[in-house]
Symmetry: D2
Subunit: 479 residues, 4 copies
C-alpha cells in the first residue's frame, strides 16, 4: 500500500491542470493545490498509522489493501465503511477526503450495473470492471468521479440544447477505443487523483445512446483538461484564525474532454441507453450513503462547538440556549441513527453486494440537507457576534492589542481567552466563511439535489402498504 510520498509523487504525471487561468506545471508544488493534496493524503497516512490500521487496512502483508476497496457484503461491512469515512473526515477537519470514497462508490455501482447489462445484452463489461477494480485496488490509486454534465438549458434534453456537447457524448470509435467529447462540472479531487471515472448523469432515451457512456482513464490522458475552481482561495490563513481552512481543502474542476480516446478495456457503458439512468442512480445511492457518513463529523462539530460556547459564555442555564441545543442534538443524532439503520437493514444485490437501504439513505440525506442552514443559525446564535467582529491571532500576539484582548475578551471565569477565541474561530469556519459556504452549497447540491432525494424516497416508499391500510380503515373494499 502506498504512503503519502508515493501518492504525492504519483501526481507529477503531466496532467493538464489550470488554476486561475494558468497551466500548473506541477500540482504538488503549487501552494494552494498542495493544500488539497496534503488533505487528500490523509487516506494514505491512516493506512500507515497504527492508530488507524485496523480501520483502514484489509488483509495483511502483501495482500493488504485499503479498506475502502472492500466490496460490502454485510451490515458489518457497511458500518465499517461508514466508520472509516467518518474517521477520515474527522481527521480532515470535517472535510471529506474523498479520493477513495467516491471512486469505490462508483466501482460498487459498476459491478452491479455491468452484471445487469451483461445479463441482458450479452456484453462483457463485468470483466472490464473487475480488471479496472483490481488495478486501482492493487496499486492503491486515488480516484475522482466525473458525473454531472454542464447541462446548458436545464429545461432541455441533450439533443435539444444549443449545441450537442452540453452533455458528454461519444463522437467516434477507433480500433483502440472510443472518442468522447464534452465537459463535466463539480468534479471533486480530480487535480489530485490518479484515475478519473466517468458516469452518465441521467437516464437517456433511445436517440440519446451516444450520451450513454461510462469509462475510466488516467488523469493525464491526452485531451483531459482540468480547470480548477478558485472558490475560497486563501493560502495564507493562520491556523488560529482558520483552524480548518488553513489545513484542509478540496478542489473541484470543470473537466473538459477534448475528443479524448478511451481504450476499449476501460469502457463500461457504450451506448446501452437503457442503463444510463440505472448506472447514474446506483452510483448516487452508494454515494449518498458515503455522503451521510462524512457529514457526521460536521454535524457533531456543530453540536460540540455549540456546547463548548455555551460553557465558555456561562449560558448553561439559559432555557433558550437549551432549546437550540436540543434541536442541534436531534438534528445530528437523527442523521446518525438513520445511517446506522440504513446499514443494519441493507438489501443484498447481485454478486452479494450489500446496498444500504435506499429509502433510509435518502431520508437521511434530505434531513441533513433541508435543516443544515437553520442549524448554522442556531450555532451562530449561541456563540455570539464575536464570530464576525472578534480579533485575530495577530491581535492576540500584538503587544498593545494582546494586552487588551486578554483583559477584555474572557468569558466564564477560568476559561482561557485563547481557548474562547479558538472556539469562536471554529464556529466562524463552521458557519460564516468561505469554508462554511462551501460546505453549505455541498449540503444542498452534492450527491444529487434535494428534489432528487424526494423522488427517490417516493419511489422506494412502500406506498401499497399505506394505501391498503387507509382502505381498510375507510371500509373501501374495491381494489
Amino acid at each position: 500500500m502506498r504512503n503519502k510520498n508515493e501518492y504525492v509523487h504519483s501526481l507529477r504525471d503531466g496532467r493538464e491542470v489550470y488554476f486561475k487561468g494558468e497551466r500548473v506545471a506541477d500540482v504538488t508544488e503549487h501552494p494552494e493545490l498542495r493544500l488539497a493534496i496534503d488533505h487528500a493524503a490523509i487516506d494514505y497516512e491512516m493506512a500507515h498509522d497504527p492508530a488507524w490500521t485496523q480501520l483502514a487496512v484489509e488483509g495483511e502483508g502483501a495482500d493488504a489493501y485499503s479498506s475502502y476497496f472492500k466490496l460490502p457484503k454485510s451490515s458489518k461491512d457497511l458500518l465499517h465503511r461508514s466508520e472509516l469515512i467518518e474517521t477520515a473526515t474527522t481527521l480532515g477537519g470535517t472535510l471529506v477526503v474523498l479520493i477513495k470514497e467516491i471512486g469505490t462508490d462508483a466501482l460498487f455501482a459498476l459491478h452491479l450495473v455491468a452484471h445487469e447489462v451483461d445479463a441482458k445484452k450479452g456484453t462483457k463489461y463485468l470483466e472490464r470492471v473487475r480488471r479496472f477494480y483490481d488495478h486501482v485496488k492493487n496499486h492503491d490509486l486515488a480516484m475522482a468521479v466525473a458525473q454531472t454534465d454542464v447541462k446548458g438549458d436545464r429545461s432541455k434534453s441533450p439533443l435539444e440544447q444549443e449545441h450537442p456537447d452540453y452533455y458528454l457524448r461519444i463522437v467516434g470509435e477507433t480500433p483502440e477505443g472510443i472518442i468522447v467529447r464534452g465537459a463535466k462540472v463539480h468534479t471533486s479531487v480530480s487535480i489530485n487523483s490518479n484515475e478519473l471515472i466517468v458516469l452518465p448523469t441521467r437516464a437517456m432515451k433511445p436517440d440519446e445512446s451516444a450520451y450513454a457512456v461510462a469509462f475510466a482513464i488516467p488523469m493525464n490522458t491526452k485531451g483531459v483538461k482540468l480547470i480548477t475552481s478558485p472558490y475560497g482561495s486563501h493560502h495564507d490563513d493562520s491556523n488560529f484564525d482558520a483552524p480548518l481552512a488553513s489545513k484542509h481543502r478540496m478542489m473541484e474542476t470543470l473537466t473538459v474532454f477534448d475528443d479524448v480516446l478511451v481504450p476499449h478495456d476501460r469502457v463500461f457503458l457504450n451506448g446501452e441507453w437503457e442503463f444510463a439512468g440505472e448506472l447514474a442512480k446506483t452510483f448516487v445511492e452508494f454515494h449518498r450513503f458515503t455522503a451521510i457518513s462524512y457529514k457526521l463529523p460536521l454535524v457533531d462539530a456543530l453540536v460540540g462547538a455549540a456546547l463548548l460556547m455555551t460553557h465558555y459564555n456561562g449560558l448553561e442555564k439559559a432555557k433558550h440556549i437549551q432549546e437550540k441545543l436540543a434541536r442541534l442534538i436531534a438534528y445530528a443524532e437523527t442523521l446518525r441513527a438513520l445511517i446506522r439503520l440504513a446499514a443494519l437493514e441493507h438489501e443484498t444485490g447481485a454478486l452479494g453486494i450489500a446496498i444500504p437501504k435506499t429509502l433510509i439513505v435518502n431520508m437521511a440525506k434530505l434531513h441533513f440537507a433541508t435543516n443544515f442552514h437553520q442549524m448554522l443559525a442556531y450555532v451562530q446564535d449561541i456563540t455570539g457576534g464575536l464570530i464576525a467582529t472578534g480579533p485575530g491571532e495577530a491581535d492576540l500576539n500584538g503587544e498593545e492589542t494582546g494586552k487588551w484582548v486578554r483583559r477584555y475578551l474572557g468569558g466564564r471565569k477560568g476559561v482561557k481567552v485563547e481557548d474562547r477565541l479558538k472556539a469562536i474561530n471554529l464556529v466562524k469556519e463552521l458557519t460564516a466563511t468561505d469554508f462554511s459556504g462551501y460546505q453549505a452549497v455541498l449540503a444542498i447540491h452534492a450527491e444529487g439535489s434535494i428534489e432528487a432525494e424526494k423522488l427517490a424516497m417516493a419511489r422506494e416508499h412502500d406506498s401499497a402498504r399505506c394505501v391498503s391500510l387507509a382502505k381498510m380503515l375507510a371500509g373501501i373494499t374495491h381494489p
Copy 2:
C-alpha cells in the same frame, strides 16, 4: 387466556364509575362506555384469532400467556412487542388498545426500580412486584396506570400548593396496608381495566416522602372513584360517516383516591423519595417506546389516505402534491426507522431486561409530536374542502339527494363515488373531528411533554464526544 366475554364479564365488579355526572351501574351496559370496552377487547380477540395467535400469544397450552407480559430480553423481543402493539392499534382503527400495553410498561419499570431500591435500601419490593406480575399475567388481566397528579399550580411543589392533596400522598398506615389520598388525571382505560397501577409523577425531595408512593389495586377497591371525561361523546355515529370513532374509543378518568387502603403486598414504593423520580422516568421511557409503536398506524394512515385521495382526485402529477406527499413519507418513515433502531441498539438493564435506546426513543417521540399538526395540514390540503362540506351517508341513501351526490361528487373516472366519500370521511376523522383532536392532544401531551422529551435527549446525548471533537478541531488542548 381469557376471551372477550370473560374480559367483559370481569368488568361487572361494582367499580365506582361516573359518566356525565352520574354513577354508572354496569359499565358493560352503558352505550358509550361499551364502545370503549369493545375496542379494548381487541387485545383478547387477537389472542384467540388464528391470524394473530403467533404474534399475541407466548407459550402453549396451559403455559400460554399474552405476549404483552413477556419481559423483553433482546432486540427481537422489543421488535416483536413493537409489532404486536402496532398490529393491535391497526385493528383498533389507529387508536391504541392499551389495556395490556401500558400496564406491562409499568411492570417492566417496577422490576427494574424495585431491584434497585431493594439493593440500596434492603427492602423486598421485587418479590411483591413479581407476585403482582404473576397474578396479572396468569389471570390475563387488563391494567390501567395512573401517574399524572392533578398538580394545582404548576410553578409550585407538592407542599407549596393550596392544599397538600394536589399530589397523591400517603396519609396513614394500618396493619393491613397504607392509606392514600389524592387524585390522578388522564388515567386511560381505567373504566375498563381490572387493575390500577399507581406511580409517582415526578422526583421528590426528602420532605416529600409521603408523595413517593407506588402500588397496584383492583379497580373496584373502595374509595377509588372514576370520573370519566365526556370528551368526544357521540354514540350514534354512522360507520360510513365516522369509520373510526363509530367503532373505536378510549376513555380517561379523573381518578380520585378517597382515603384508599392499599394492602402492604401491593405497595411497591412507600416513602423512598430518592426513587420516585427514577420510577417515574423508567416507566415513561418504556411507555414512550410503546407510544411510538402505536403511532405507526396513525402516521401510515395519514400517508395512505393522502396517497388515496391524490389518486381519487386525479392529482398524481401535481408537483405541489408530490412535495407534500414526500414530507408525509419522510415524517412517517423517520418515525418507523427510529423505532427500529431503538430496538436494535437497546441497552440491557438489571435482570437482563432490554431497554429501548433512550436517546433514540425520545428523538422519535419528539419528531412525532412536533410535526404532527403540520402533517394534518398537508393531508387536508391534498384531500380538499369536502372534508368539511361533504355529504353524509344519509345523503347518499336519500332518494333525491343520493341521485345528485352520485352524479356530482365523482372524482377520477372509474372511482366509485362511495369510495371517494369514504376516503374523504377517513381524512375527516384523521384530521378534523373530535377524534382527531383527541389524537392531536395526545400527540402533544401523552407519555410526557415535549419539553420532557428534550430534557431526556439532552441527558442521554453523548455530549462529551462532541465537545472533544470541537476542541480537537479548534486546537484547544486544555481540559
Copy 3:
C-alpha cells in the same frame, strides 16, 4: 333595514333544502339549521344594537343601509369594512357570519368586471349589476355565493370530464332567460340566505364559453337544490362544554342546478369566456381581504386563550411557554399588520372602487393558512392534556363528581375551578373538536387554495425591481 325576525321570516319561502337526506319543510323550525340561522342573524342584530349602529349602518333614517354594501372608495372605507367584519365575527364566536360579507365581495367584483366587459364587448352588464345591487341593498337581503364547481377529475378541463356537467354550464336559452345545469360545492350560508350569486370558478378557453356564466337568483328558484353537509352535527351541546359550537354554526351545501332558468336581467356573464378568469380572480381577491379580516378574532382568541391558561396554570415564568407565546403573538400580529397595510396601500380600480393591495392580501392569507395548524399545537401544548381528558358541565354539577372536580382541578391559587375549566373548554373548541377541525379545513381551503395564493403573489410581485437590483449588483449590463 331588516331586523332579525324579518330576516328569519324571509327564509320561509319554499326553498328546497335537504339535511341528512331528507327535505326540510321549514329551515327556521329545524333545530340544527336554526342554529346557523340564529348565528347569521348577528348581522341584522348589530344594525339595531346601539353599541354597533355606527359601525354597521351607513346613512340615516330611510336612507340607512347596511355598511357591508358600501362600495369602498378609500383606505378608511376598507379599514371600516375590516373592522365591521372582525366585530361581527367576534360576536359570532370566531365564526364568520358571512351573509353580507361574501355577497358584497361578489358585488364589488361584478361592478369592476361588468364595467370592463361592457367596455370591451359593448354589453350592458353594469346596469344589471347595479339593479341587482340596489335590490339587495335596499331590501337588506342575505346573500350566498356559489363558486367552486364539483370539478370531477382535477387534472382535466371541463370538456375532458366524464360528463360535461362537472362544471356549471349554460344548456339553453329562452325568451325569459338562460338555462343552467351543474352543481357547486362548499356553498356557505345558502340555506339561510335570500339570494344566491353564482360565479365561475376558473378561467375558460374559447370552446368553454358555455361555462363562462355568472348570475344571481332567489334561493327558492325552481331547480335549485341545497344538500346540506352534516359535518359537525351536534345540537345538544352544553354551553359550558362547547362555548362556541353550542351557539354558532355555519352550513355548506352541495348546490345543484337542475336546469334552472335565470332571467336575463340577472345574468352578469353569458359566454364571454375571456372574462371568466378575471371575474373569478377579482371576487376571490376581495374575498381574501374579507377572509383575513374575519380570521382576526380566531387568531386573537388563540393568543388570548394561551395567555389565560398560562396564568391559570401558574406558568408565566416558564421560558418554553414564553417562547410559544411569542410565536403565537408574532403569528396573530403579522396577520393584523398585513391587513392594515393592504387597506392603507390599496389600489383604485374602475368606478373609484378601492381594491386592497393584492400582494399583501395574499401574503396575509398564506401566512395565516400555512402556520395555523402549528399554532393549534402551541395552544394545546400550553394548556395541557385536560383538553382531551377533562370533565364536563355535568360532572361539575353532579353531587359526588362536582365535589371532587372542585377539589382537584384547581390551578393557580385564587382561580375558580369553573373558570379554569371554561378556559380549557374554549381551547378544546378552538383546537381539538369538530368545530376546530372545520376552522382548520377552512384555513387551508377557503377563499382559494394555498397554491393559488402563491401564484397570486408571484403574479403581483414587483419582480422587475428585484431583478434589476440583482443585475446592478452583479454588474450585468445586458437587458
Copy 4:
C-alpha cells in the same frame, strides 16, 4: 455639507487604530481600511449627486444638512428616512453605510431620554444633547455608536464578574469631566467615523450606578483604542469574482477605553441608573427600524438573484423552483410591509419625535432574523452547485480556459456566459462566502438578539385585548 474628500481627510487625526496587531498610522492609506472608508463615503457622495440630493439633503444653501439628522416628526419623515437608508445600502452593495444612520438613531434616543431624565431628576442633559446634535449636524460628521459591553460571564451582572471592567464604568471625576474605563465590542464604523457615541448596554441596579453612563467623544480622544476585527480580510478580490466584497466593507472594533476623560458637556448620563435600561432600549428600537430598512436591498437581492438564475438556467416552469421563489417573495415582502406599517402607524414621543411602532419593528426584525438562513438555502438551491465549483475571472480570461468556459458554461440560449457567471458570483457572495457569513451573523446578532426581540414583542403586545376576548368567548365573567 462635506464632500468625500473632506470626509476622508478628517479621518487623519491621530486616532489609535490597530489592524492585525499593528498600529495604523493613517487609516486612509491602509488598503483594507480604505475599502471601508470608500464604502462609508457613499453617504457623502449621495449628498452631492443630483440623482440623490432630494433624498439625502434637507434644507437649502447654507441651511442644507444631511437628511439623516432630521428628527422624525411624522410617518412621512420615517418613510423618507427608511427610503434614504435603503437607497444608500443599495449603493453600498447590500451593505449598510452606517456612519450617519446609527449615530442619528442614538441622537433620537438621547433627545427622548435626556428629556425624561431632566424632567425627573432636574438635570440639564437635553441642552448638552442638543449642543452635540448641532455640532455633528452642522459639521456633517460621521458617527459610530459603542454600546455592547464585553460582558465576560453572561450569567453574571457587572459587579459579579471576575473584574469590574467587563462593563464600561465611571472610575473617577475631575473638574474637566469624568473618567471612564472598560471596553465595548462590535463597534461598527469606528475606524472611519469622527465621533463616538457611547451608550449603556442594559438596565442597571442601584449599586451599579457607575455603569450608567452615556457620552460622546471625538474618535481621536486620548485613551480610545480601536482594535479592528480582521474578519473577512481580503483586499485583492476581483470585481468579477466578488462583485460586493471587492468594493464594500464595514469594519468593527474592540473599542478600549483606557481611563478616558470625557468633558462634562459631552456626558449624557452620569450615574442615573434608573435610565440606563431606558436609554439602551430607546436607542435599540430606533436602530431596529434603521436595521430593517437596510436589510431591504439584501433580501430583494436574494429574490432578484434567484429570479435571474431561474431564468438563466431555464427553470421558470419547474414547480419546485416556483415554490422556493414564492417563499423568498413572501419573506422579502413581509419585511417590507412591516417596515411600512411601522412608519405609518408610528407613535409620537416627547418633543414630537415620531417613534416607529415598536411591536411591528420587532416583529419585522424577528421575521428577518429567524428565516434568513433558510432563504440562503433556497437561493443556493435554485442557483446550482457552480456557486462553489465555478470558474473565476482569470479562467474566463485565460486563453485556453476561457475557450472552454465559454463553450461549456452557458445556460439558456441567448444568455451570455459572462452574465451567467456574474449572477452566480453574486449568489456566491450573498450566500456562501465570508461576506455572506458576515451578513448572516449580523442577521442573528445585530441590533439586539433574537430573544431580546421576542421580549420586546411580548412587552408591546396588547395582551389585555386578547385575554378579554378569550374570557368573553369562554363565558368567564370574573376579572
